[in-house]
């Protein structure tokens, strides 16, 4: 499958590290778009169609979330999606199998998002090996600060996967530098306090924060939490490298169906 028809090498990301992929895309686009879905919500089949629609509409990167019963950093929309996926009987193995089939079918890099109990219960190093075999590029684990993540970080290093590190507006510059020392791929910058899906005010304060993040890390910056529309993308161009649309695409799917998500994403550019 071709990616936006612009780059000639098929499946180019497979041979490319995540960071190089991001930098290559940045030569063609002002900003990358990353979206998020909860594996098994509303169903595996619908997730697959959703990914197809998103990739077709020009999404550059995607987070696949393995549902967890206690998703502490997620707001109401993603929280409910987690619980509904689990009620549908989604298992961790089912999620990894799904990720494998998605990665075979679509030519963009995929990341895993979940909470630490999932890899911990599976056995952290075995889980990271399974991720690598699946073809995932990296992982975001919001409840695992590096102070608690020794086993995980070591396993990610060994398997050549990128642990995506999170910065927040309450993170000091010194701590940003510390976090950056564990980071690969890109930095996930949380735009504001709160959980996923609330409103984010695009402001001078946000510009200052992104400037601080840029100073603390040489990696590309993704900005997430609460982005909703084209104006957000326009605002972020030149300030961040990746815009993350998590909750809003899920809301669009819930209200208007999967096809409408494609329209929504096209309108963002």
């Amino acid at each position: 499958m071709m990616h936006n028809g612009k780059i000639s090498s098929d499946k180019r990301h497979e041979i490319m590290a995540l960071e190089s992929y991001i930098r290559a895309v940045l030569k063609e686009k002002d900003i990358l778009l990353m979206t998020h879905l909860i594996i098994g919500y509303p169903s595996f089949e619908e997730c697959f169609r959703l990914i197809d629609v998103m990739v077709g509409a020009g999404v550059d990167l995607m987070e696949l979330q393995i549902p967890f019963s206690e998703p502490i950093a997620d707001g109401p929309v993603i929280l409910r999606a987690n619980h509904m996926a689990l009620e549908n009987g989604v298992t961790v193995q089912g999620c990894l199998d799904f990720a494998r089939s998605v990665i075979r079918a679509f030519d963009i890099p995929f990341l895993l998002m979940t909470y630490y109990n999932i890899p911990f219960t599976y056995n952290t190093s075995a889980f990271v090996s399974a991720m690598a075999k699946t073809g995932l590029k990296g992982a975001i684990i919001p409840d695992l600060p590096p102070e608690e993540g020794h086993d995980y970080l070591e396993a990610m290093q060994k398997e050549g996967l990128d642990p995506i590190v999170i910065f927040s507006p309450t993170t000091s510059y010194e701590r940003m530098k510390y976090l950056d020392s564990f980071a690969r791929g890109f930095i996930y910058c949380v735009a504001r306090r709160g959980v996923t899906g609330g409103d984010t005010i695009l402001s001078e304060k946000l510009i200052f924060y992104l400037g601080l993040c840029r100073k603390a890390s040489n990696l590309p910056l993704a900005l997430g939490f609460g982005l909703k529309e084209k104006a957000d993308m326009v605002f972020l161009k030149g300030k961040a490298d990746i815009a993350v649309m998590g909750t809003q695409t899920i809301r669009t799917m819930e209200k208007e169906g999967i096809a409408a998500v494609g329209e929504f994403i096209r309108r963002l550019r």
């Binding site: 206690e70 298992t91 109990n117 911990f120 609330g198």
Partner: protein, 408 residues
């Protein structure tokens, strides 16, 4: 962060980045308060003038002669202001909130006792207050919801997940990650990320300190066994902490619910159903499936109906220092009735778990032995649950009449 609060392999601080600086501030303030002798003095002053410390130690003469074994003493945490040991922790954290200059407090609550205690502290200290409570618990603990609201707190029903204590904790964390600049989360039990297990145990240690002094004064010797119920573990750690270095058996009693083989219970360490996991910001034994998804729990007592257990208790259990047992709902109700009729004491259904286990063991001990039961709270709040359990016809008539009075 330097100190990460591990007890053996349990504990830690598995928190989102957005909360790291808030936890650093809290750890820092707690360390400073601990090092300040004036802080504990101030705490003791409040607890003795606003609450009822020291709480009495009651000799249960009638129960002792009924069982004909060990001499039974009861530590009366039900006589704290707001009717449970929860006040010890809440007033202590309230003093910390003042030191940090914050103006709003939030809390989770299961049985409602911690919610009422927090709402009371907020009223006294002039803080705004929001309480998160699972919908299932709201249904079974309406009187406490009524009092929280009268005290000026906002009570938010939690409709996600199992709609019980763990979901209320998640929701309180979601509030906190949004409002930590002016808000402190008054976690009610010795669980959650560091420093909560240590901090809650620190304030609750007043129970054990008093109890040890009282029993030695009365009997001139230590008890053979100390019993406490365990939901998260705060009252158990409170009373146990006074006897950790003594040759005293410490018995923690979990909710056996409908029975350990039914899967409908909340027994983490006394059943084989739990395994080590990481959730709600800390590592401990959780009742979870093989994928790490939390299971539904059950107990007649909302305050024990929880998937995890204090990392400090998990460690003490692993070292063999604390013995874990469980009792079934039906045994709890029997112990509750017996305590009412024989001693005129009304233990909370949570506390009645400790009584039930103590009653099983007391007859096998000699009259030289002393046992001490922590009555962590009073049972008035359980009026609806108890009335249902006894199928009390007159109570049902009263409720029907009351409903008619309110109109359609």
């Amino acid at each position: 962060m330097n100190s990460r609060g591990y007890y053996g392999e349990f504990g830690g601080a598995f928190i989102p980045e957005i909360l790291i600086s808030t936890f650093e501030e809290l750890v820092d303030e707690f360390e400073k308060a601990k090092a300040d002798p004036a802080f504990w003095q101030k705490y003791m002053h409040i607890m003795s003038t606003y609450s009822c410390r020291p709480t009495p130690l009651t000799f249960a003469e009638n129960l002792t002669s009924l069982f004909g074994g060990a001499r039974i003493y009861i530590k009366r945490e039900d006589l704290n202001h707001t009717g449970a040991h929860k006040a010890n922790n809440v007033m202590g954290q309230g003093l910390l909130v003042k030191r940090m200059g914050k103006t709003r407090v939030i809390a989770e609550t299961g049985a409602g006792q911690h919610g009422v205690a927090t709402a009371t502290m907020a009223a006294r200290f002039g803080f705004r207050c929001t309480i998160y409570m699972g919908e299932v618990d709201i249904e079974r603990q309406r009187p406490n919801v009524f009092w929280m609201e009268r005290l000026g707190a906002q009570v938010i029903p939690v409709r996600d997940g199992t709609r019980t204590l763990k979901d209320a904790i998640n929701e309180a964390f979601r509030d906190w990650v949004t409002n930590m600049h002016d808000t402190h989360y008054v976690l009610g039990t010795a669980c959650g990320p560091h420093p909560f297990p240590e901090m809650v145990s620190y304030f609750q240690s007043i129970i054990g300190e008093e109890a040890r002094g009282q029993i030695i004064e009365r009997e001139g010797k230590l008890p053979s066994r100390v019993y406490a119920c365990v939901g998260g573990g705060s009252n158990a750690l409170g009373v146990f902490s006074g006897f950790l270095d003594d040759p005293v058996q410490l018995v923690a009693v979990e909710a056996g619910g409908k029975g350990l083989n039914t899967g409908r219970h909340a027994a983490r360490l006394s059943s084989k159903d739990a395994s080590v996991g990481v959730a709600q910001g800390y590592k401990t034994y959780f009742l979870q499936d093989s994928d790490g998804q939390m299971k539904k729990t059950h107990s007649v007592a909302a305050g024990l109906d929880y998937v995890g257990v204090s990392p400090i208790l998990a460690s003490l259990w692993q070292e063999g220092r604390v013995r874990f047992e469980s009792v079934m709902d039906s045994e709890v109700l029997d112990a509750f009735s017996l305590t009412l009729k024989k001693e005129g004491l009304v233990p909370a259904l949570e506390s009645a778990h400790a009584f039930a286990q103590a009653f099983k063991e007391a007859p096998h001990l000699s009259s030289d032995d002393i046992i001490l039961i922590n009555q962590s709270g009073r049972g008035d709040k359980d009026i609806f649950t108890v009335a249902d359990a006894y199928n009390d016809a007159q109570w049902q008539d009263f409720i029907r009449q009351k409903a008619r009075d309110y109109g359609p």
